[in-house]
Symmetry: D2
Subunit: 380 residues, 4 copies
């Protein structure tokens, strides 16, 4: 099976996440990067393209140019990865969706609600797939956790504890020339959410992905500890879910000693689960009245939900890039399936798409509104 | 130095915490248990006294009888430990305080606010000491954490994450004859707080003890998951502190896999600390921009604050009983000091007393009020 | 039941292990320390006795004096704890054994083989009990491990990995005035073994205690890394057991970052167990082809072997002192039983005694001989 | 820069390690797999090639055919990965080396010493590079550990503890149709070493890589616990190093609960290091007299030695495949360098090659000889 021809918008040399997408696309060998509009300035874009070995003729100065040119080629890109700051997600995605090119887009969906609505419309108007890289859903043991909850192993879910602390925004990196911090702290490019948009959405998405529960309302206390920082860098959130479960979500970018401490703890009538992103090959499971078990990826109690997205034996750790690659690999299968005539809805499976994106935007919107109302309960 | 003559109210054979107090009182050899009113029924009290080797003449049928008789003896008790269910704390304490006998009382302070006020008055009216066994403050690494915060090692505190999950109230132990569960789920004996009174107060107290910060308001979402349970068995709480710090507190008694998961994470402008009760000999410290360090009890970076309350070398674990014993040992020193003529206020040092008790009651009251108001912000 | 009247030889203010014995003797309230010969110099002994609140008339200048005087009293000591450097174990023990006073003695048994033989004779000639404080056998989860092996849960044992690394002898503490290091590095007082005697015997004893296997031969490579140090401070040992199991033992006192890293890993045909002294409340159990389980002290899969020697609920850690106290408590029961007329052999139960002591001496002897023979296989 | 054209010998659908090599070769985008002799039977080879999307014309029935045909093409492979059972390493490697095609070969070097000698000759006779995939040397924190030792951070090295336990050979997988177990337990295909060849060589190699020390002699006690198993499945080994360091190596394939427990602990005069393969993003460092520090990959105390081979931020775990990819990426750089005219010796850098392979064979040979001599000390 030949590789899917892939383009990329954003992801030049300064960027972190572009390289991640490229590696993720290569790991299972389903994509070939053949075109790019890798930077907002044409010169930088050319330089980055050259560094990646792209054909100079397919290194474009803008995503519009790229969309038009690639759509006109017989060997044009079949899919595009959008890895820009948030405010560019929608215009870039629209350019490709409108031409029937599949889109794999970084999260959160957009910087503004207007863009989110427009994005939803653009997806609706297109036949192309829209995949949002909520990459943590690709971790094998997250798949197993979801499967266990769905199978009723925990009984009815009661408590959902989510957290995602980091520490890289201690001090003032946005004033010290750290590009990653600059745009993330700028409402124009990032949107109304700081930590909640950047990492809170991940934790929120993951809680919903694993439990299958819909959060109905939240009370959020957002705060900015960084000097002169406008957007939140710490958020305390209480949540209520359909069916009566309660939860908490803490995200922070100023918690010393926390690197990417995404962690999920779920408790039901019959048992509990615990998982942490920094040690992702283990799922800790406690059936009520029994000892806690360390279920290992591809180990003796790993289920098909996790083994089917694992590559190597237990004890040989897979990590962040492999989890990310699972999203790309499932997107490739979905792309091949729609190319083969299957319906778009039928192929999305567990892949996060426009709905997850809109849920994330609703989460950000509710957090900001709640916090403005002194952490009043707010419908999501 | 001769041992302090100690009595005990409560703590018969069914009880868990009475035995803990007795061991704690013995570890550093400052007390001799010589009298008891160990149960609410005289027969049981006699039996328990005999099992403990008490003089039958000093095994009493009630705390009133004991207070009167012991106060009249030349060799009467100097101090009494009160380890009954919450609703008996005040009447028992008053009986001894009013006779000048020092009181070491289990937490929370009382079952009701009326009792709490009366207890405060009884303490004010007495010359005797009143010590509340917020025992977790006795852990050496908690002492070191408090000291580091006070010394400014973390800079201004920004975030205080407290949690105390358990799982022993999954199912319906109160209907299955578990005495510990029976009174704890009964508002008459336990008071208005379930999990928040039993374990939430511990987490709240510890957060304040270590940071030195006063929590000013909270928003609490209490819930009872246990069938037919009136009092909360799970609580999600957001907090705000004087000086701008924010925090969260989660306590639960229905979280499968959690035994006594009391955990504290504190983040300031310059660093972070993490400590867990189940692994109490380590304090994890991250100075901003450096690696996380595992500070061990009595190890190379242990400070006087922790080494002064440690007994054995690093790597030989001390545990819950030793931390509890530190409270008893410091209470002994305080008792000897007031007996020697020092003022009561001067000798309390780090010992939790009536103020900590009233703060705990205020916490419970605020939680219940907030939760009734749909988690509205409520002054503490 | 009245307390057993206890004396102590050694354990003055400079000593570490004396205080441990005293606390261990108090925890479960079976002993009362009433007499002591706490130091090798009479003045120091008096001072230490005063600090402990002993009756000056029963604070003796030597163990001989104490043995004679106490044996003559109606209320004389019933048992004595011997916590001197190794070379004094035998003369002290003999003085009491010969007078029918029960002996609780620190390990290793003696400094020399001659003393060991004499000690065996002294025990044989006496009706009194002789208990050797191989205290790690008192840890509840070690009891459970032993029980699981005995029940066949692991099938036939194949591999026994023992280790006990420390780091406190890095540098030259024996030249810097550290008393603990001085006598431990002095062959006159410590015997032929350095690390192997001090901590290797513990690991060796524990491996045998848990597996029930007898080690038949070993090959040992002893080494002294410390400048000018005569006795070993690091030992690598291979072992063979009756029935075909193989094992390794590593002990070291110069391994930076190791405090008291005693650890045991046991593998059989049907499963494996892992336990570490620094985190002693957990036993990690892997049945073949299943996930690893974290069995907690007093938790859902704790067996009677461990719960019977536990005091507090799971998640509230017990530590080194409680494990040590279990030896004292079982010794108290044995003492009361022989006082009540039971035979000495019948009451020892799991208590380590003269046999464990002789096995430890045989281990040291074999290690030294093997190492002199360039790690030749040597019968134990 | 265009990709290096890569062929593969072995690695058909049954194999585990072939897929690992392919992913590792893709992660940093330096290779394109264009040819293969993927199985020992031509039909299977064709099927596997088709499954991988190889040009059928370049899917060969044997490595000889492939070597000849590819060497004759203008666009023939520049490098070949050899991922067969051990006994095929030499004949396959020779076929390519003799044609100037660079070889990336799985370990151990060969099944027999004769083959090892012949391999050394074949490498000497060729201008092509020979890289042996001791992949664990590619882990970033292993690089940092090596760097710290070389910089003298630990002072002179005293103790080297190596271990690699697994449990997948409990029971009799080689009799249950597990291909991986079949050839590994067959001396014809695997060579004289069982566990020592398969995983012991990894631990041995890693100890030498990090410490820079040469092991001079060893005493090995090999054993087969598996029913009817000829080759060792458990090995206890003591080692002595140039300069006086001592060490131990334990490897096992029958230790329940161990998946790929490769672990390295190194102690010097001034500090200690600990690293485990199952949690590879952390390096635990203890400077003498200070607290242990958790150094994280790409974190605040990560050095250039580790950051230069890392891809993503700290807290986002990299794993086994990324470590393996580092070997491929450094091999690509070396290949491009020799193609650009640099000398073969100059470009190998930290890459394991023929010398590491011969050292591994010497280790296996010494282990087997020593064990036959009842664990006599044997020169390596």
């Amino acid at each position: 099976m030949s590789r899917i021809r892939l383009g990329m918008v954003g992801g030049g040399s300064d960027a972190f996440i572009g390289a991640v997408h490229r590696i993720a696309s290569r790991i299972d060998d389903h994509y070939e990067l053949v075109a790019g509009a890798l930077s907002s300035t044409p010169e930088r874009s050319k330089e980055s393209g050259a560094a990646l070995g792209l054909d100079p003729a397919r290194t474009y100065g803008s995503f519009d140019e790229m969309a038009e040119a690639e759509a006109a080629r017989d060997d044009g890109i079949e899919a595009v990865s959008i890895v820009t700051p948030n405010h560019m997600h929608y215009p870039a995605a629209r350019a490709f969706l409108s031409r029937g090119i599949h889109v794999i887009c970084d999260k959160p969906l957009t910087a503004t609600d207007d863009h989110a609505d427009a994005m939803a419309q653009a997806v609706a108007d297109s036949d192309a797939l829209f995949v949002l890289t909520h990459n943590y859903t690709g971790y094998p043991m997250i798949r197993q956790a979801r499967d266990m909850v769905a199978a009723g192993t925990l009984g009815q879910i009661r408590i959902v504890q989510m957290e995602y602390p980091q520490d890289w925004m201690m001090g003032s990196p946005e004033q010290d020339g750290v590009k990653q911090a600059e745009w993330r702290t700028d409402p124009e490019r990032s949107g109304a959410g700081g930590a909640i948009g950047d990492i809170g959405t991940h934790a929120f998405n993951l809680g919903g992905f694993v439990t299958g529960l819909t959060a109905t309302e939240l009370a959020a206390d957002l705060h900015s500890f960084g000097k002169g920082r406008v957007l939140d860098d710490n958020a305390h959130i209480m949540l209520r879910f359909e069916g009566g479960a309660r939860g908490m979500l803490w995200c922070s970018q100023v918690a010393a000693g926390c690197e990417n401490g995404l962690r999920l703890r779920i408790y039901g009538e019959k048992g509990g689960l615990e998982w942490g992103q920094e040690d992702p090959n283990y799922l800790w499971f406690t059936p009520q009245g029994e000892s806690t078990r360390r279920i290992t990826r591809n180990g003796p109690e790993a289920s098909e939900a996790s083994t089917s997205v694992s590559r190597i034996p237990p004890g040989h750790p897979e990590g962040y890039l492999e989890g990310f690659a699972n999203i790309y690999t499932e997107a490739a299968a979905a792309i091949r399936a729609v190319q083969g005539g299957e319906s778009r809805d039928a192929v999305m499976g567990k892949l996060p798409g426009i709905r997850a994106g809109l849920e994330g935007m609703a989460f950000i919107r509710a957090c900001v509104a709640s916090s403005k109302g002194n952490a009043a309960w707010t419908k999501i």
